[in-house]
Amino acid sequence: MEMIQAALGWLPMWLQVLMMIVLKIVVILIPLMLSVAYLTYAERKVIGYIQVRIGPNRVGPIGLLQPIADAVKLIFKEIIVPAGSDKLLFLLAPILAMAPALAAWAVVPFQPGMVLADVNAGLLYILALTSMGVYGIIIAGWASNSKYAFIGAIRSAAQVVSYEIAMGFALVGVLVAAGSLNLGQIVLAQSGSILHWFWLPLLPLMVVYFISGVAETNRAPFDLAEGESEIVAGFHVEYSGTPFAVFFLAEYANMILIATLSAVLFLGGWLSPFQGIPGLAEGALGAPSMLWLFIKVAFFLFLFLWFRATFPRYRYDQVMRLGWKVFIPITIVWLLVVAGMVVGELPPWFA
């Protein structure tokens, strides 16, 4: 970091600051894009093995170059803009889906002090940005001027708005427990040992948050927005080539974001699971590190894939029932319980 800063020393101050910020953004986004690419590979492999197949294995050793081949194929395909569509909004929609999925990473802490923007209201910022992702979907559905796309968009909008409430309440629980909206502070509030992480006192909220996250990213079993047996492919029927690829990227970037947030909010982020265990806590194993965060994120991402291979798609009325009649009451009740635990200073978490 200091080395780069020294190399940029000859530039005017504002340009130096700008360059450093752009550099940090690149350092976050390139690994993110690579993870998205290899998440699609992992998805096909994992689901393949669950269904007793091998999955992609032709391009490169054990199919490792498959995502690159897919990306190249999508980039060189023709972009078809339907004649009856609203051209401006049709092309704006993928960008609107992608932008919030990337912008949310600004406040995600990877390691102590390693965050692009250490904002006090980080949790609120994340909530605001994830709620904006739905615009891409709605606008895509409407601008395509196709009934299937439109029905997909309507379904998706209703679903995202419903599950956002449960998700917001779950985040309020985290906020009450940690006493801060800053994601770094939330991680630090969980330090101690694996039992100090919030997954234990906030277990129902963690379950609700993650399932709402699956619903919010329109992944199976909540992928009614693209239910291919009823509405072909939902909101992105009319998309091809690069705009389609951007929707795809946005969906997977959102999955990684939800997994990362679940890890940061409930599984102690960068904290080591060996912390607080005598004999193991000293040395490299007990030290907080980015690697622990990545392992936790990988665990949640695996859950996404596992869900997709295991559960059949929900019926529409049951999705709504689960969101409004099950999750919201659970979160409200547990919010009261958490508030009671915090006021009562229940050890070991809130003492």
Binding site: W14, D86, L89, V119, N120, A121, L124, Y125, L127, A128, S131, M132, V134, Y135, I138, I139, W142, F150, A153, I154, A157, A158, V160, V161, E164, L181, D317, Q318, R321
Partner: protein
């Protein structure tokens, strides 16, 4: 011009352009999206005023929820735009008079002795670790707790009223009861009958 002033003018220009588009574009969906742009620009202006909690809440509530439902409704309506525009020229003089009058009133009020940079100097900038959220919460739950509670009750009444207005009891509608569905056992649905094979005739 300082960077903050530059940001202020850029955001204000965006806000005014968006507001102009809301009333002037033909397509209602485009108008709703211009309104979203307005919310964004005003959230940016609030951020400049160091009101980050309010700014993010504006985006969260209005952009993330209210405008999504607006778009939802606007997209489903088949609005005949040409018919809505018929009276445009006829009402233009009246509209202009109202617009000029309200603009004049606003200028009169704002340019008076109670406003302006001398009367209202910018408050000193807070330190980086100052949490405006915590401060807002403290004020809301101590000094302003009664107005806050009253507002909450009014909102609750509005929710209940909206639901009762739209709720229609239809006795013929059949509902599912998921709890009963889950409790079903095989014996409730399937009866195994032991009978001797019938003779073939």
């Amino acid at each position: 011009m300082s960077f903050q002033a530059l940001l202020f003018y850029a955001l204000s220009a965006l806000l005014l352009t968006g507001a102009g588009l809301v009333v002037s574009v033909r397509n209602p969906v485009h108008a709703a999206l211009s309104l979203v742009l307005c919310f964004f620009a005003s959230a940016g202006l609030w951020l400049l005023l160091e009101a980050e909690f309010l700014a993010i809440t504006l985006v969260l509530v209005y952009v993330g929820a209210v405008m999504v439902l607006f778009l939802f409704v606007v997209m489903m309506l088949d609005i005949n735009v040409t018919r809505m525009r018929e009276g445009f020229i006829r009402f233009l003089p009246l509209g202009t008079v109202v617009a000029v009058l309200s603009a004049a009133f606003m200028i009169l009020v704002v340019s008076g002795p109670y406003f302006g940079l001398e009367a209202m100097p910018a408050p000193p900038a807070k330190a980086a670790d100052y949490s405006n959220t915590a401060e807002l919460g403290r004020q809301l739950y101590t000094t302003y707790v009664y107005p806050f509670e009253i507002a909450a009750v009014v909102l609750l009444v509005a929710i209940v009223a909206a639901i009762t207005l739209t709720l229609r009891r239809r006795p013929n509608t059949r509902f599912q009861e998921p709890s009963l569905q889950v409790q079903v056992r095989r014996a409730d649905r399937v009866r195994l009958v032991s009978m001797s094979a019938e003779e073939r005739k």
